[in-house]
């Protein structure tokens, strides 16, 4: 009797898991369709844009680039040099050293001829103590804040306190922005005064040739782990964020490259220091603030301003990163749970939030549950071949399909990988990633779900290789 009940329960679970996957993939598919529509229109619109003309306009708003850094000795000089060559009228750089334990500050002082100076803080968000302020004698646009260690969000807040421009760009100190990236990402702020935040696209620099802080040759990395991430990033940004942008429900702007209205972020209280997902949390909080105070606003994604970043090249580091991302997602969604299915928050509350809760946050749990029930059914002799086919068909077939969609979107939109060989490789990787890597990712996310209850909020450790020869393509 009990045995029969267990078997029925197992069958029921299998149907639930299956249904979940159908809904999940329909969600991805719809987002992909929106992304396709949006991207096509955007690319057409780009043809009517004269970047040089925009650059020459005195009406572009001044921006402060806030680059938080912790133990960035190998890359800090090159990435700062890259920032100094940005083509934009009025900008300054606030490099914020979060009490690095390596020689980050010393390298900055030596390389940019920094001298101690004073700068009046304009904000009063609570942060760890700022120990010193430096300004470059050779590059007056460059300022360096040295503060006690407090984590990334605390470091961004310190930068925000010293920001004097109407807009600021939150980024990673090790990211390389393309020369025109600022001009491109600021466009939404110029074209629509309601814009409070805009995110750019993050691309992976591993494998590319970097010359004096500029990516000069874009190729896929030779190693498999970074390659897999190239595809993931394409899927996340071109299929995911572009789609959500089209639906006017952007919930995530990557911490590696996003521009925000300073006054609103200060009003919202700055970055949250008690979460590892401070970038997503800020965007969700801005949605809440604007909706609750009835401030007309828009938050969007712009697919052509590029920030190049080095991705983890080992599974161990990658696992830690994904663990953090999942924890950040859960913490944010839990904190703002009032928005879930709340019509007061419009499409964000009724569409994006439920999607992220049920189809992103819970996905690792359900997928792992699916594998377990599958295993149990097999052990108990209840495994039916049709179910097995359906499950794997959905799980793997749709995974491949979605990745192909991302590759197609890249081809329609930007074609940043000029070698045809790289396109073939991406298509191949789209197939391969489903056998092992995807399950591993799910495991890391599941671990993140468990760790949400016990981990602290420090910087994610990343073993950097720098942008030198290691980042060049193989001969």
């Amino acid at each position: 009797m009990i045995y029969q009940f267990v078997l029925r329960l197992l069958d029921g679970f299998n149907v639930i898991v299956l249904t979940y996957f159908v809904v999940l993939n329909i969600g991805y598919f719809i987002t992909g369709l929106f992304a396709f529509r949006s991207l096509r229109r955007y690319v057409r619109r780009l043809r009517t844009l004269d970047i040089e003309d925009l650059l020459g306009s005195a009406g572009m708003p001044p921006i402060t680039l806030v680059a938080p850094a912790f133990n960035e000795e190998p890359t800090c000089v090159e990435s700062t040099r890259s920032l100094l060559t940005l083509k934009y009228g009025d900008f300054e750089i606030l490099f914020v050293n979060d009490g690095s334990k390596d020689g980050t500050l010393a390298r900055m002082i030596e390389s940019f001829d920094l001298e101690p100076t004073f700068r009046l803080p304009t904000g009063s968000i609570a942060t760890k103590t700022v120990r010193g302020i430096y300004r470059s004698r050779s590059h007056p646009k460059l300022w360096v804040l040295d503060k006690e260690n407090g984590g990334k969000a605390d470091t961004l807040n310190a930068g925000l306190n010293y920001c004097r421009t109407p807009l600021f760009c939150g980024m990673d100190a090790d990211s390389l922005l393309e020369r025109e990236a600022l001009t491109r990402i600021v466009r939404p702020f110029v074209e629509d005064a309601r814009t409070v935040a805009a995110g750019g696209i993050i691309r992976i620099v591993n494998g590319c040739t970097v010359n004096e802080g500029t990516v000069t040759n874009v190729t896929l990395p030779a190693e498999m782990v970074p390659r897999l991430q190239v595809l993931e990033y394409l899927r996340a940004f071109l299929a995911g964020r572009m789609g959500w942008h089209e639906m006017e429900a952007t919930l995530i702007i990557s911490g590696a490259f996003g521009v925000f209205r300073r006054d609103l972020v200060v009003e919202a209280g700055g970055y949250a220091t008690d979460t590892v997902g401070e970038d997503m949390e800020l965007v969700v909080r801005l949605h809440r603030l604007c909706r609750e105070k009835k401030i007309p606003y828009t938050i969007g994604f712009v697919p052509d301003p590029v920030a190049w970043t080095e991705c983890p090249s080992t599974l161990k580091v990658l696992g830690r990163q994904r663990d953090r991302w999942q924890r950040g997602l859960i913490e944010t969604l839990w904190r703002h749970r009032v928005m879930l299915f709340n019509p007061k928050y419009g499409r964000v509350g009724m569409l994006a939030y439920p999607y992220f809760v049920f189809l992103e946050m819970l996905a690792p749990l359900v997928e792992m549950f699916g594998y377990l029930t599958f295993l149990a059914a097999w052990i108990l002799g209840r495994l039916s071949a049709p179910f097995a086919l359906a499950f794997f068909g959905l799980s793997i077939g749709l995974g491949i399909g979605l990745s192909f969609t991302a590759v197609a979107l890249e081809e329609v939109g930007f074609r940043r990988y000029p070698r045809r060989k790289d396109l073939y490789t991406l298509i191949w990787v789209a197939v391969v990633e489903n056998f092992g890597y995807r399950q591993l990712t799910m495991w890391w996310r599941l671990r993140g779900t468990i760790n949400v209850f016990k981990k602290g909020h420090t910087w994610g450790r990343m073993d950097r290789k720098g942008f030198g020869p290691a980042a060049k393509p193989p001969a």
Binding site: T48, G59, A390
Partner: protein
Amino acid sequence: MSGSRLWDFYLEQPGFALLLLGNAIFVIGALALAVAALLLRIRNDRTAHHWMGLEAKWEARTVEVLTEAATPEQLWALVDRRDRLRFLNFLLRFARRLTGTERRRVDELAAPYLDLVLPQLKARSPERRARAIQTLTTLGARKYAPQVVRSLDDPSPLVSMVAARSLARRESPDFAAAILRRLHRFGDWRPSFLASMLASIGPAVAPALRQALADRTFDPKTRCVAADALRELNDYASADVAGAVLDETVDRDLLVATLGLLAQVGRDDQVAAIRRHLNGEPIVRSRVMSVLGRIGSAEDADTLVQAFDDPSPWVALRAAEAMYESRNPALARLADSDHPRAALARQMLTGGSA
């Protein structure tokens, strides 16, 4: 499970079979996308190769025409009938690199082909209409101005803005009036950007801007844009208009824009009216400090020192700048004192800016 049993299972459970069918359709669709991506790449590579070759030929001959080593007819002879629009696109990009006589020569080279662009002004896609306007205004003579002015009323804000910017580059006050009348259409755009666009027309636009600033029937945002543009133009003749606006307006943004204009062009006899706003919001107070630093008198020195203690750091910052600009000796005293913001004064004195 054999094939026939599997089939029986699906027949018994049609929902399950439908699910698999949907899955199969999706996968086939995605595979088609991957194949399409590959084909698209192959086609794009070929097209790019073809156009690069063609444009290399055009570019070499265009340079010869510009140096008078070849005639325009020799260049036009290289342009196949079906490549005419492409040729215009090439000239559009080429023209952006040039100025003066050479630039005018490129316009002449484009002239025989520009009428081909006119039908695109009626295209369904706003992006195509916008592109057509860009081509006509960048390469075209004034003869296409009526079409472009009409495009200011295009239902698409993108087209309308491209038309406005194109006309602004023409540096003609006639167009300025047309743009100003439609400024409300660009309500979503950042005011500083609009001001910069208008100022790019040049001093000839100033009378129209002064009129817009003075006209209470215009919405405050348009008047703000006019004030910012006049400030960019450094238009001293607008001081009286600005003074009058200062007395009548209650709109904060307009007040801030007008104070910004007065900081640039104001006269000392207007200082009394400016001082009346010393108790405004922080953004207004900070602007007042900037104006007082430029045109204030000796009796404003104490006001600036007091503002150094203002709860808003922005006001203190502007007060420090104003003291520096007006060579106020109090700044040095503050720098040597144990005032909590003494370092700001020191920074001003050594760096000259905050």
